[in-house]
């Protein structure tokens, strides 16, 4: 399997002139086609790590290779392009655009992707929503959807540009068990189709699906 992420980083936050170290010499690598779970107690830095991997936070020391490119050396434009095409990020709170319908939310990342023709966008969005069992919810606004449905729309949005890496920070944190199972199954399917799926979770449930579980503790990884 192809290695898509390889990092060796150090991260600390500065809060009111106080340095809060999160991790040091953190070495990790991820391959495509696998389901990874990142676990650990609250405050150990799971979100911090996945945000860095998702290129949402570039304030760190060390080296991060994504598809063999050193992201610290890339311009803002190149980074935006990577986020758009290589990464699909799923948040715990779904974070859909409340003024856009389900399918419009899915189309949104496609608008800045030149590889998808304008006339194919809607078709593609409907296919993705279909695949996630939302065929009769496409015209709903976020507030007209249940939490589980909203998270599936968010997954469809993450898949909009067919990225190789799916990152999810506690995707089932706000959902009940039934919906949790649904979401993990969907993510598992995606990893089987060759995507690198990385999920941060508290839930022990995730262990059933994960190929590899990383445990983050005191800024170190135990496999």
């Amino acid at each position: 399997m192809k290695e898509v992420i390889n990092l060796n980083i150090e991260k600390s936050y500065i809060l009111k002139h106080k340095i809060i170290p999160v991790f040091k010499d953190l070495k990790l690598s991820f391959e495509s086609g696998k389901f990874y779970a990142i676990m650990g107690h609250s405050g150990c830095g799971k979100s911090t790590l996945i945000n860095i991997m998702g290129l949402l936070d570039n304030e760190f020391k060390g080296e991060y290779f994504l598809n063999e490119k050193n992201v610290s050396k890339l311009s803002n434009k190149e980074l935006a392009n990577l986020r758009n095409k290589e990464i699909g990020f799923i948040f715990q709170e779904f974070l859909l655009d409340k003024y856009l319908k389900a399918y419009e939310n899915v189309i949104f990342p496609m608008l800045v992707n030149k590889d998808i023709l304008p006339k194919e966008r809607k078709k593609r969005a409907l296919e993705l929503l279909n695949m996630l069992g939302l065929e009769d919810r496409v015209n709903h606004f976020p507030k007209e959807l249940s939490g589980g449905e909203q998270q599936r729309v968010a997954i469809a949005r993450a898949l909009a540009n067919n990225p190789n890496i799916i990152l999810a920070d506690e995707p089932t944190g706000d959902l009940d068990e039934e919906n949790e199972t649904k979401i993990f199954n969907i993510l598992k399917e995606l990893s089987k189709k060759g995507k690198c799926v990385i999920v941060v979770s508290h839930s022990n449930e995730v262990k059933k699906y994960a190929d590899i579980v990383y445990k983050l503790q005191d800024g170190k990884i135990m496999e």
Partner: protein
């Protein structure tokens, strides 16, 4: 990202986000206030300028000869004045205008005015008078002979009627004997054919004023009114522009003649209106600026997560800025459109309302597009500047910092 996509999704979001109505109202009220203040200000100064242009009195100087001219001919005095810069015309002040009784209607009169090239009304329906014409007159489109009851509009005589009948006068002739005026039994009678009509309201005249040629005027004075002539020549000096009146008066004074303005204008009212309108405009601009900044900052704060998500999904800073700018410009353009419609409707209503007031006939508000531009510019420029400044700030932020701001 194509312009079409930006426009389409911006329209969707503007339409669905009810909070935009606040910004719309701020911009609409601001635009209407600025446009209204500008319109009123220009309307007032335009009217005053019109009045000055139309009514010759404001740039007519009355000059009185010095005593040495008692022995010289009057012509010498006039020629002296004609040589001055900025002077268009000089004529005997005695020949300016006179009220004379009508033939077979002694109780009523007509005011005959010297119709020289410069004093004639600008707009004349029909023919005009030339210097050497005789027996012709230009009269009001509505003529009124009974001046005692000026505001009664019942006894107007239509100008067309005067064209048929003409104006006939009957002036008693006085004689000067040993410095005393003595009425003779002779009369100066003359009929003037009315060859043209003019609007006394826009011209600043009374409804009983007719113009006759300078030649007829001289004749009327020399025969019928010679007894009234002043001993020292007095001249009406017509100056080319209001701003030159003072300098002409100075040169007249240098020559040792006395002079005064025929009519003066009180500019204080215009200045006051100007000041008040300027203050309103400045306050509106500041108001629009402050409220727009506060409002855009507020919606952007609500929007912060959205901007973060856009970044997380690969939108460049440029894309994000285009999006927010487009949304604001849509609101600005809607405000411009609606305020244009509202302002035009107001003009229409005001004009219909004042149509029947004869004295305001030409003062109906003219709606020049110039009055709009400033307001339009402000409500376009302010959101653009505000948004650009805020974007500069957001550009530097990491996606996660925007998403987790709350």
């Amino acid at each position: 990202m194509s312009f079409k996509d930006i426009l389409y999704y911006s329209l969707l979001r503007v339409k669905r986000n009810k909070k935009n109505i606040f910004l719309f109202i701020i911009l609409l009220i601001g635009c209407l206030t600025i446009t209204g203040a500008l319109t009123y200000k220009n309307f007032i100064s335009q009217n005053v300028n019109d009045l000055i242009n139309k009514y010759l009195g404001y740039r007519t100087v009355i000059a009185i000869a010095s005593f040495e001219y008692e022995d010289k001919s009057d012509e010498e005095f006039y020629n002296e004045l004609k040589k001055l810069d900025h002077v268009l015309e000089v004529y005997n002040a005695d020949y300016n205008s006179i009220n004379v009784p009508l033939l077979n209607d002694e109780d009523n009169s007509v005011s005959l005015t010297n119709g020289s090239t410069y004093s004639l009304p600008k707009k004349i329906i029909g023919k005009t008078i030339k210097e050497d014409d005789t027996g012709v007159a230009i009269c009001p489109i509505k003529f009124k002979k009974n001046m005692e009851d000026y505001y009664n509009t019942d006894d107007f005589i239509d100008g067309q009627e005067l064209i048929k009948t003409g104006i006939s006068i009957n002036v008693p002739i006085y004689d000067k004997v040993n410095g005393k005026l003595i009425l003779t039994d002779k009369f100066y009678q003359k009929k003037y054919n009315v060859i043209g009509l003019y609007d006394p309201v826009t011209n600043g005249n009374l409804y009983n004023t007719c113009y006759i040629s300078p030649k007829d005027m001289k004749e009327l004075f020399d025969i019928a009114e010679s007894a009234n002539k002043s001993s020292l020549p007095i001249a009406h000096v017509i100056v080319d522009d209001l701003k030159n009146v003072d300098s002409v008066r100075e040169t007249i004074a240098d020559k040792g003649f006395e002079s005064f303005n025929k009519t003066t204008i009180n500019y204080d009212y215009v200045k006051e209106v100007n000041q008040i309108c300027n203050i309103i405009i400045i306050i509106s601009c500041i108001g629009i600026f402050v409220l727009t900044i506060l409002y855009i900052k507020k919606i952007n704060n609500d929007n912060l997560q959205n901007i973060g998500i856009q970044k997380a999904y690969g939108y460049s800073n440029g894309n994000i800025q285009n999006f927010s700018m487009c949304e604001l410009l849509i609101i600005s353009f809607i405000s411009i459109f609606i305020s244009f419609i509202l302002a035009e409707s107001c003009y229409l209503i005001i004009n219909i309302f004042f149509k029947d007031y004869i004295n305001l006939k030409e003062r109906i508000i003219t709606h020049s597009m110039l009055n709009y531009w400033f307001g339009f510019l402000i409500i376009l420029v302010v959101p653009i500047i505000t948004n650009s400044l805020l974007n500069l700030f957001y550009n530097k932020k990491n996606a996660i910092n925007l998403i987790r701001k709350k």
